[in-house]
Symmetry: C2
Subunit: 560 residues, 2 copies
C-alpha cells in the first residue's frame, strides 16, 4: 500500500452529514417530534413513538459473532454495513446500536461507533457525551446511593443492614482506585463508615432497567422494584421505600427518548442505551428497537460479545421480556479470529494458515448450532481484512456449506454498503421467508439453577455447573422472595465457551462454577457470576487519553 | 389571599416559550451558529462569538446582595427582572446567570432559575441536566483523578507523593458519604490505598477554570497548569505532566459554548458555568459575559452570596483577570432579611418591626460602602414581599437617601419586568453616565497574606487576620513557586462579615483566622479557607427528591 489508510475519525470527518431532520424525514418522523441536539443528532419524542403502535412491525435482524479475540470481529461495522447494504438494494432499513461508554474511550478501546466506511456519525459526539444519556443514568444511580446513605444517617428507620447494601455508586470512567473503598469516614457528620465501591456506568442496574423499560411508567415501576440491599433480618429493601423512583425517573425522562443519528451513507440509526453483556444483557434499549420496528421494514441490531453471551441474552432476556421475535441472524466471523481460535498467536496473524482457520472453525460451528436452537435462521458474514488469503476464505465458505449455512465475504469496512449487498439480499430474503420460529431456550418456570445449567450445557457445551452451599442458599432465598421466574444473566469471560479465557475454539465437557449470584430486581433477571468479572475497568499504562486533544480547528483528534 | 399562589414550576409551565431561534434573532445570531438542544435551548458557536470581537462592548451591570439569611434575598429574580425591565423600557438587554447544580435540587434548595414571574425557562431542564455542562466538567475532573491514580499504579515515574495528592474526585450530588473515603482498597490490582474524597461538581477547580477561560486554547493551557499535588520533595505536579489537558479539553469542548435560553418575557439569557462563591469565584463564565457584552447594550449578571463574597470575587478575580469594567451595580435587599440581621427570628418575620429593620440596615450599609470602594456606582433594589409594611420599606428608603444611594421597591417576582421598570431606568442611566471608575481592591504584586488582610479589613470590617506557622510557610512556598501574583479567593461563611455565621448585622473589629491555604493554579487564584467550608453538601432528613417525579403527562413535578 502506498498511502496510509485513513483513520476512522478522518473518514468520519469527510462524511457529508445531512441535517437530522432529513434523516428523520426518511422515516416520516415530523420535525416537530424531534428534540434536536445540534444539527446531526436528535431524540425522538416518546409520545410520537407511542402513536405508531398500530403499525405493523418490520423484520428484526440480529447481528452476533463468534467468540471475540484481540484480532477483532467487527460486529458493529457489520451491523452498520448491513443497514447500508439493505438500503442500497432498495429496502427501507435502519439500525439499532448501543451507545458507547465514555470511560473506555480514554483507556484501550477507543471509540465504538463502527469503523472504516461503516460508521455512525458524528462519531466524536457519539463516543463522548452524545446526548447525555449515560450521565443521566449515572446521576439516577448515584441519587439512589445518596438516598440510601442519607436514610441510614438520619436514623435508619427501615433498618438497612449497612453490611448488606449491594447498591454501588457509578462513574463513566475507567478508574480502578474506586473499585473498593471505605466511605463515610471522617466522623459523625459524614455517616456510618462502610465498605463500598464504584462500577462503570454500563454495569449499573439502572442501565439494564433503562434498556428494558417499555415506557416512562414501566421505568418508574422497575426503578422502584430495585433491591438495594437487605435489612438485618434479611428482608429485601426496595428503592421505592426510599422514595427514589420518582426523582430517578425525572433524571431519566429525556434520556429515555431514543437517539437518532445517521450512517456515513446517510441512513437512519438509533443509538440508545448500552449495558454490559456479562452482568447485564448487552443490547440497546427496547424502546429503540420497538420504535425502529414501527418505522422501518428491516431493523438490524447487535448484541454484545460473542453469541454465547450476547445472542443468548438478546434471545432469553430482551426478546423474551419485550415480546420480540427475531426474523434472522448474522453471525460475524473473521479469518484472523478463526486463526486465533485455531491456536495462532496475535503476532503471527499475518501469515496464511489454513489449518489454523480449519481448527478455529469449531468455535464458529458451535455458535451456528446455538443460534439454531432458538429457531432463528442465520447466515455467516465474514468481515474481510486485506490480509485474508483466498485459501483461508475458501475454508470458511466450505465449512459453512457443510453446515448448510450461507456465508458471505463482506467488504463494508473498505467499501461501505456496496461491499455487503449480496449478504443484505440474502438476509432480507431469510427475514421475509417466515422460516423463523423463535423460542427462548428455557421456560420462565424452570428453577434458577436449572436455567443456568441449561444455558451451560446447551450453549457453552459444558458438562455441568457447580456451586457451593452459600450459592445454593442464595438460589433458595431468591426463589422464596419471588424472583424464581426471572431469566438468568450469566456473567463469564467472553473469550471462551468455558470460564477459562485461554480455552479457545469449542471446549466442551467443562464445569461452569457459579461463584456468586446477584439480583437485578428492577431489570428482572438474576445474575450468575461465573469467573472474574470486572465491573470497573482500569486504564492501561499508556491510556488512549494521552493522544486525545482538540486541534486548532476545534476538532477532536485521537479518537479511533 | 383567596387562591394559593402559583408555584415557580406552574408559572414556568404556563409561559409561552418562543423557539430559541427567535430569541437568537433578537441578538442577530444566525440560526446556523446555534447548536440547539431541543426547541428552547441552544449553545452559541465559539467561532461566531470570536467573530464579534471588533464590536463595542455593552454596559456591564452587577447584581449583588446584602448578607444572605434563611429569609431569602432574590438576587437571581432581581437579575432576571432587571433584564426584563430594561427590555420593557426599550433597552437591548440580556442577562448572564450561573447554571444551577443538579445535586442541591434533590436536597433542600430546590431549583435556581429565578422565581415567580422572574425566571429563566425551561426551568426543569435548566435545573436538571440542562445542556450537560456540569456532567462534562465532572468527567474532565474525574479523568484527571483516574490518570493520577493510574500513573501511580503503573510505577509512579513522576514520584507523586500519595499523601499529598490534593486533586479530589467530584459528583453532582449531595452525598456526605463521599466526603472522606479510603480508595484503592482490595489488593494489588486496585492500586495503592490512600485517603481521598469527593466534592460536589461546583466546587471543582475545573469549574472555576471553565468559568475563567477565554477560549479553548486558554482552557487547555489552564487545565495543564493545574497542580494536582506534590512529589515527595515538594515539587508541584501539574496536570500537563499526566498529559491530561488534551483529553480534558476534548471533554469540555462543547460545554464551553455558552447556553442561550429565555426569560418568561422572552428576553435572551445566557446561563453558563456555576462555581461556588466561597472556594471559587462564584460567577458565570467569562465567555458568556464577554459574548453578551458584544451582543447586547446592557448585560445584567449576578455574583454568588452577599457582596462581601460574591461582588468582591467578581471584582477582584473575574473582572481583574478578564479585563472587565462594570458600569453599575445593584445591591439587593429584602425587608425580611434586614429584620433577621436586626435580630428577629425566622418565625417572627411576619410581624412588623421597624426597629429591627433599622438595626439590620447596618449590614446593607457596609455592603454599600464596600461596592463604592471599587469605584462602581450603585443602587439598592428592595425585593418586595407582600408582607412588607409601608413603615418598614420607608425605613430602608430613608436610610439609602442618607447614604446617597437611590433605592427602589421592586415587584418583579409578582409582576415581571413591569414591576422593576423604575429601577431599570435609573440603572441604565447610571451605567451610561460614565461615573464608573472601576479598580480592584489590591494590586497583583501585593504579598498573599497582605491581600487577604486587605480584604478582611476593607470589606469584612475585621481588625486583622490570623494564621499559624504552617499557613505562613504555605504562603512562602506558594510565593517561592511563583504563585504570589495570584488574587486571593477567600472561603468563609456567607452569613456574616465575620467568620461566625451567627454574627449578623455588621460586626467589626473581629479576627479572621486563615486555617488553610489551597492553590488553584489553573484557575489562577489562591484559596484562603477561613472557617468550616463544605465542599460536599449532605441531603436533609426529608430531601426535596421525595417530591420530585414525572406526572402522567410526562411533566416533571416537585421542582420549586
Amino acid at each position: 500500500m502506498v498511502s496510509k489508510p485513513k483513520s476512522d475519525i478522518e473518514i468520519a470527518r469527510e462524511a457529508r452529514l445531512k441535517p437530522i431532520e432529513e434523516i428523520a424525514a426518511k422515516l416520516a418522523i415530523p420535525a416537530d417530534r424531534l428534540y434536536r441536539y445540534g444539527p446531526t443528532k436528535a431524540k425522538i419524542d416518546l409520545g410520537y413513538i407511542a402513536s405508531l403502535k398500530d403499525r405493523p412491525d418490520g423484520r428484526l435482524i440480529l447481528v452476533t459473532a463468534m467468540s471475540p479475540t484481540p484480532a477483532g470481529e467487527g460486529k458493529t461495522t457489520t451491523t452498520v454495513g448491513l443497514g447500508d447494504g439493505l438500503n442500497r438494494i432498495g429496502r427501507k432499513a435502519m439500525i439499532c446500536l448501543r451507545e458507547p461508554s465514555l470511560g473506555p474511550c480514554f483507556g484501550m478501546k477507543g471509540g465504538a461507533a463502527g469503523g472504516g466506511h461503516a460508521q455512525v456519525v458524528p462519531m466524536e459526539d457519539i463516543n463522548l457525551h452524545f446526548t447525555g444519556d449515560f450521565h443521566a443514568i449515572a446521576a439516577a444511580n448515584n441519587l439512589l446511593a445518596a438516598l440510601i446513605d442519607n436514610h441510614i444517617y438520619w436514623g435508619n428507620e427501615i433498618g438497612i443492614d449497612t453490611r448488606r447494601v449491594s447498591w454501588r455508586r457509578v462513574v463513566d470512567m475507567n478508574d480502578r482506585a474506586l473499585r473498593q473503598i471505605v466511605s463515610s469516614l471522617g466522623g459523625v457528620a459524614n455517616g456510618y463508615p462502610r465498605e463500598d465501591g464504584f462500577d462503570i456506568v454500563v454495569a449499573s442496574e439502572v442501565m439494564a432497567i433503562f434498556c428494558l423499560a417499555t415506557d416512562l411508567e414501566d421505568l418508574t415501576a422497575r426503578l422502584g422494584r430495585i433491591v438495594i440491599g437487605y435489612t438485618r433480618d434479611r428482608r429485601p429493601v426496595r428503592a421505592a421505600e426510599l422514595m427514589a423512583a420518582g426523582p430517578m425517573t425525572a433524571l431519566l425522562r429525556d434520556a429515555l427518548m431514543p437517539n437518532l443519528v445517521q450512517t456515513l451513507e446517510n441512513n437512519p440509526a438509533l443509538v440508545h442505551g448500552g449495558p454490559f453483556a456479562n452482568i447485564a444483557h448487552g443490547c440497546n434499549s427496547v424502546i429503540a428497537t420497538k420504535a425502529a420496528l414501527k418505522m422501518a421494514d428491516y431493523v438490524v441490531t447487535e448484541a454484545g460479545f460473542g453469541a454465547d453471551l450476547g445472542a443468548e441474552k438478546f434471545f432469553d432476556i430482551k426478546c423474551r421480556k419485550a415480546g420480540l421475535a427475531p426474523d434472522a441472524a448474522v453471525l460475524v466471523a473473521t479469518v484472523r479470529a478463526l486463526k486465533m481460535h485455531g491456536g495462532v498467536a496475535k503476532a503471527d496473524l499475518g501469515q496464511e494458515n489454513v489449518a489454523a482457520v480449519e481448527a478455529g472453525l469449531a468455535n464458529l460451528g458451535r455458535h451456528i448450532a446455538n443460534v439454531r436452537k432458538y429457531g432463528v435462521p442465520l447466515v455467516v458474514g465474514i468481515n474481510g481484512f486485506t490480509g485474508d488469503t483466498e485459501a483461508e476464505v475458501a475454508a470458511v465458505l466450505e465449512f459453512c456449506r457443510a453446515q448448510g449455512v450461507d456465508c458471505f465475504l463482506n467488504r463494508h469496512w473498505a467499501e461501505g454498503g456496496k461491499g455487503i449487498e449480496a449478504m443484505a439480499a440474502r438476509v432480507a430474503e431469510l427475514a421475509d421467508s417466515g422460516q423463523s420460529n423463535f423460542k427462548p431456550l428455557y421456560p420462565d418456570g424452570m428453577r434458577l439453577a436449572e436455567k443456568i445449567r441449561t444455558v451451560a450445557r446447551s450453549i457453552y457445551g459444558a458438562e455441568d455447573i457447580a456451586f457451593d452451599a452459600t450459592v445454593a442458599k442464595r438460589f433458595e432465598q431468591l426463589e422464596a422472595d419471588g424472583f424464581g421466574n426471572f431469566p438468568v444473566c450469566i456473567a463469564k469471560t467472553q473469550y471462551s465457551f468455558s470460564t477459562d479465557a485461554a480455552a479457545r475454539g469449542a471446549p466442551s465437557g467443562h464445569i461452569v462454577p457459579v461463584r456468586e449470584v446477584r439480583l437485578s430486581a428492577g431489570a428482572e433477571f438474576v445474575v450468575a457470576i461465573c469467573g472474574d468479572i470486572m465491573t470497573m475497568p482500569g486504564l492501561p499504562r499508556v491510556p488512549a487519553a494521552n493522544a486525545i486533544h482538540v486541534n486548532e480547528k476545534g476538532e477532536i483528534e485521537g479518537l479511533f
